[in-house]
């Protein structure tokens, strides 16, 4: 049983002319204590997915489908139960540590508040635990720091405080949304190392959202690639980088500078607006492998091995772990070796060929 299961999750924005779908039919499962990477460019829906798990979507957005966390569907849970889960079992850190902390409260107060909200302890005990937590995230002289305000800390220190708040109640899932994008590479390496160490110590799962493939390569075990609100590819991290199946994934990898002087092969065009997506495959207008039929019907997310074997009919879309799904699959596609691609030409495309 997975820790978190997203089942046909759709997210919509309300607008004056009806609702616009920004995340479509997302299926994935996150196991306890794993780092699951979610990759995509801005506007692909990765942050909205995270916000929907936390139940903090903006007012003008709503989600449909199921978000199952420990036998509860978070989308149907009442506000009070959701409030008890949030910050305790599920927690989240954001891209901008500077805007995520309250500027008029001390760092110590903000960390202690998490503890007094979710646990039956006194303010004094909470403050002492806050010091311990700041020590755990390697903030030097935490006894002094708890009395300071966010503006007195550097960006890296603020992110450490955010992490301290997020892990205060030993959550089983930490959502890290671009946790190091605002930080320097040296600080980035330190923060990621810290997240990894805490994950091992506390056996917490991490949903790591980023646009940086290098960060994914170094930190995640499994990766999902999102584009225009769809899951385009899902695979084990090693498999994804060595045998990418979706033209978009290949495009992202080829966008990275490699050999000096060799022109890059960027993905042409730009991400379309969510209300102006192409009819068939949402990537077809930018895809160099696209066939006429790609513009007609949106492909399903199917295992790469089935995509390569034309005689087998494609099975319904699902992500790793769905027991019913797995049983009628060849044994080689089980678990971490499962590689799903939403592309009708996935089997023909060989990277670097």
């Amino acid at each position: 049983m997975s820790l978190l299961t997203l089942r046909s999750l759709h997210i919509f924005f309300r607008s004056t002319s009806g609702s616009i779908k920004v995340v479509s039919d997302l299926n994935l499962e996150i196991e306890a204590a794993e780092v699951f990477g979610l990759v995509g460019e801005s506007g692909c829906g990765k942050t909205l997915t995270a916000l929907s798990i936390m139940g903090i979507l903006p007012q003008n957005a709503f989600a449909e489908g199921e978000i199952i966390f420990r036998d509860n569907n978070l989308l149907t849970l009442d506000r009070e139960s959701m409030r008890r889960l949030r910050g305790k079992e599920l927690s989240m850190i954001f891209q901008e540590p500077a805007t995520s902390l309250n500027p008029v409260l001390t760092v110590g107060y903000q960390v202690a508040e998490v503890l007094t909200t979710h646990m039956d302890i006194s303010k004094k005990e909470a403050m002492n635990t806050a010091i311990e937590l700041l020590k755990a995230v390697k903030i030097p002289s935490p006894e002094i720091r708890i009395k300071e305000y966010p503006h007195q800390l550097s960006g890296g220190m603020k992110q450490r405080v955010m992490i301290a708040m997020a892990i205060a109640c030993k959550p089983s899932l930490l959502i890290a949304d671009e946790p190091t994008t605002a930080l320097d590479v040296t600080i980035q390496a330190q923060i990621l190392e810290l997240i990894q160490r805490l994950r091992e110590d506390m056996r917490m799962a991490v949903l790591l959202i980023t646009h940086d493939l290098g960060i994914i390569a170094e930190n995640a075990q499994r990766v999902a690639i999102m584009y225009a609100g769809r899951l385009m590819e899902l695979a084990d991290v090693y498999e994804l980088f060595n045998n990418p199946g979706h033209p978009y994934t290949i495009g992202l990898l080829e966008s990275l500078p490699e050999e000096k002087g060799k022109p890059l092969k960027p993905i042409p065009g730009f991400v379309p607006e969510p209300d102006r997506l192409p009819l068939g495959c949402k990537f077809s207008d930018r895809c160099r492998f696209a066939l006429p039929e790609c513009n007609e019907k949106e492909p399903e997310l199917i295992p790469l091995s089935i995509a390569s074997n034309k005689s087998n009919p494609p099975s319904p879309p699902f992500a790793k772990g769905g027991q019913e799904g797995i049983n009628h699959l060849p044994p080689t596609t089980r678990h971490s070796s499962l590689h799903l691609v939403r592309c009708i030409r996935a089997s023909e495309i060989l990277w670097r060929s």
Binding site: E41, S42, K138, P140, S154, G155, G156, M157, D184, V185, T186, I187, Q188, A189, Q190, L192, E193, H211, D212, L213, G214, I215, A217, E218, N219, Y238, F241, N242, G251, L252, L253, E254, S255, L256, P257, E258, K260, P263, L264, K265, P266, I267, P268, F270, V271
Partner: protein, 324 residues
């Protein structure tokens, strides 16, 4: 001869500490020397707050220096005035990191790009529109956007508009201050290709500031590594990435995450070993005595905390470290 030369350039900012106390000095740029040759790309790398953007602003004379000089074609740019200054502005252009705040929201794209053409009288009035279209085509945009406004465009498109605007005056040098970091990966590649094409076609030299080491490796010919207002290592790009000399450069390079393909596994484990939790950059108001990097340096030894190392030549590059 160097097209652009920077000699012992300093920029100190006074920072008020409190009422009745003398302001402290923030030494953003503390005596640096650089040179940029024709048709070359010089990259400046370093963590935020090391002073690299201040150097960019000094070079294009957006800020006056505390001391030192910037020579463009042999002339000190801070002493220029009148027509000479105008000619300098025409030769050296800047592109900023954030394409959202560097375009005037109330000006159409036509007006935005036409402005430098008018100021520098590049073309006759009746040809301005044609020239703007030509520039837009150069950066991969069409004439259909002439009457649209900046808010209608994505980050990548805006950065293209900024590039078109700087190309309008046919500059010899473009100072690019983190031109890619606000953009998505696939768009970064598009803009980087564009910059490379322009460099080939117009022989523009670039003064390129970035913290994305992969991009710097790909695009630049030589690199200056900056730390707390000083250059700590200055080398050819290939040499620096093959073997960084300064301990700071070493840590900086090893901190960048890499994508594993089988052959890189050794690189990864070497990088992981080198990465040390070295804490954060000290405030540029209280620069540590001796080598400014010594409090974070894993290789520090006896002279580091009291003697400031000089930038000396070692194996065809410049390094300021007592180890060399």
């Amino acid at each position: 001869m160097a097209l652009l030369k920077v000699n012992s350039l300093k920029k100190y900012f006074p920072v008020k500490k409190g009422f009745m106390t003398a302001p402290a000095l923030l030494k953003a740029v503390d005596g640096i020397d650089l040179s940029l040759d024709e048709d070359r790309v010089f990259a400046l790398v370093g963590e935020s707050g090391c002073g690299k953007s201040t150097v960019a602003r000094l070079i294009v004379r957006l800020l006056p220096p505390t001391s030192g000089e910037v020579l463009f074609q042999g002339k000190n740019v801070f002493e220029l005035s009148g027509d000479n200054l105008k000619a300098f502005r025409k030769s050296v252009q800047i592109i900023f990191q954030d394409p959202f705040s560097s375009l005037n929201p109330r000006k159409s794209i036509l007006d935005t790009i036409a402005e430098p053409l008018k100021i520098h009288r590049i073309v006759e009035k009746i040809r301005i529109k044609d020239k703007v279209v030509e520039l837009l085509n150069k950066v991969g945009l069409g004439s259909d956007i002439l009457n649209r406004y900046p808010h209608e465009f994505s980050g990548g498109q805006r950065q293209r508009i900024c590039i078109a605007r700087s190309l309008a005056v046919s500059p010899k040098v473009i100072v690019a201050d983190e031109p890619l970091s606000a953009l998505d990966v696939s768009i970064q590649a598009q803009i980087l290709n564009l910059l490379q094409e322009l460099k080939r076609e117009y022989r523009i030299s670039f003064f390129f500031i970035s913290h994305a080491l992969k991009v710097v490796h790909y695009f630049s010919d030589s690199i200056g590594v900056m730390y707390l207002g000083k250059i700590v290592e200055h080398a050819k790009t290939e040499d620096l990435f093959r073997e960084p000399f300064h301990p700071y450069t070493e840590i900086l390079l090893s901190s960048a995450p890499t994508i594993i393909v089988q052959s890189d596994k050794d690189v990864r484990s070497r990088n992981l070993k080198l990465r040390t939790d070295m804490g954060e950059v000290p405030s540029p108001i209280d620069i540590p005595p001796g080598c400014p990097f010594h409090p974070r340096c894993p290789k520090k030894f006896e002279p580091c905390d009291n003697i400031i190392p000089e930038l000396k030549e070692t194996d065809g590059r410049l390094v300021s470290c007592h180890l060399f």
